[in-house]
Symmetry: C2
Subunit: 327 residues, 2 copies
Amino acid sequence: MPGPTIYDVATAAGVATSTVSRAFSTPGRVSAATREKVLAVAAELGYQPNPHARALLSGKHHTVAMVVSDITNPHYFELIRGAEMRARVSEYTLLLVNAEESPRVEWEQIQRLAPAVDGFLLAASRLPDENLRQIAVQRPIVLMSRELPGLASVVLDHVEGCRQIVAHLSSLGHRDLVYLAGPRNSWMAGTRWAALKAAADQVGLTARRIGPFTPKVSQGGAAADGAVNAGTTAVVAHNDLLAIGVMQRLAQRGLRVPEDISVVGFDDIFAADVCTPGLTTLGGAHADLGRAAVELLLTAGTRGPDDQPRVLLPTELVLRGSTGPVA
Amino acid sequence: MPGPTIYDVATAAGVATSTVSRAFSTPGRVSAATREKVLAVAAELGYQPNPHARALLSGKHHTVAMVVSDITNPHYFELIRGAEMRARVSEYTLLLVNAEESPRVEWEQIQRLAPAVDGFLLAASRLPDENLRQIAVQRPIVLMSRELPGLASVVLDHVEGCRQIVAHLSSLGHRDLVYLAGPRNSWMAGTRWAALKAAADQVGLTARRIGPFTPKVSQGGAAADGAVNAGTTAVVAHNDLLAIGVMQRLAQRGLRVPEDISVVGFDDIFAADVCTPGLTTLGGAHADLGRAAVELLLTAGTRGPDDQPRVLLPTELVLRGSTGPVA
DNA sequence: GTGAAAGCGCTAACAG
DNA sequence: CTGTTAGCGCTTTCAC
């Protein structure tokens, strides 16, 4: 079962193990003839270098771990996809870890894997800032959908995005909006609210926040009722899942979208395009976020702790049927 | 940067490296006092065992690789989720690999990772049977959504599921159906068609197949036109993505679903529930498939090559608005 | 250009 | 119960 080793190859090819090693890692330092022979024998035996042995003395693992705060959220799937694809290009392997929304689990997993990976991608980490800094001294890390001064990060530009949302609603005649907030320990939730509030203030629109809500379809009912109760003409939900849940509840209550109330989401997940009415949502190239994060991680060695990049990718407001002029 | 090793801990605690090792791996074989001390020192130094060194001589990696034929298909996400969660429970790490629908890429990735993982989960593998058998002699493998005699597999019970689809359509008065086939090298596509055909024959319903189609929303247009051209009252699409694309195209052509034509999909992805009309689709606990596959893989050592389990999980036909009585 | 030998971090005999 | 020692498979000096 344990495949052939360089010893087997060396014996079969009549050379030393070091020569076999060189034939693979530094082909220039072996004569063409021996190299050919070694490679031929290796191929015949089905030899595959053992990554563990290699990692053991090189310290390089060719592996990055991606820790996702909640793998059940379809939105992260795009990030995972993008990350996997970029990693593959550099022949890196992607380790996938689910933190189950638990900071403790997240921390334990990271500590466990730290000696075995080249770096971490932390998507929507629920860890306190201090913990993130601790990790960063052990291993290169890149935050996704979260920012922290001194650490590399990739996020969508929500300031500009929220400005667009507000401009859109304002142009339709809405005079106020209600933000259905995401979880308390979500950096994104805070960011979205701040950006929304600032943009609203700027154009003289009233912005209120209710919540927090767990951003799932099932929570849409409570969120919708809260919004109706608040008496607004426009709601901006923390994400598309919540927004879809809201629309379902509104329909149930006999309220029409967008005639009676406009709904906006975040993420532009696939379902936003097929629900009725289509959901107006702030999207962006999420797979690119994943790609950019891996990119940053792989080049982390070239930067000092003082110039950790903060990549801001553009959002795009996708207009669909869920927003319309105020009656 | 390279964290502390057992040597550092041993020195600091004034014991031998083997004692440190034992304190971690076989706590029973050390006196309580020394164990306490070692663990304390280790914690203080922030010592973490190096998994590579451990794997190097144990041959156990506590890692399983999941190879997905096409990571862009949201359906696989559920499988990935389930697998990740089950792996986590046993403190296994899940490696995620995308084969990009290419048998060559799939094969290369598997060969590359073989020496570094405890086994493979192959989801909808596009590899020929022969290659699968070759892999199976190197490492334990579990096929997902594919079967091959002699290899462990987990699939949904499409025979029964397709029978239900046919019964449903038949009860609505449909006398024939058209299957919009998936890719040629997809085992699932062949299986679905065979099951559909058999079930149709049994109840005296005419079944025809057109395609193959790449199962994406964008291919729904061509598929829908083909179905309309064939002049049928019911189409069964290879998966929900294709079905949704079909419904979009039908709407565009002014055809009503289900009044003019009924549509059925496979997978019950999230979007099937929010599109209009809701999509009738053959679902099942896909996350459970992922779980079951990991389960099988982790217990693979206990079975001989002659009793490789073939796990069949139940499907469930989810009735929504896209199917209705024939006019 | 190639071989011999040391050692990466850890565990598993084998002594004591 | 604990220390000594020999590798796991590979790369990397250091000689030749």
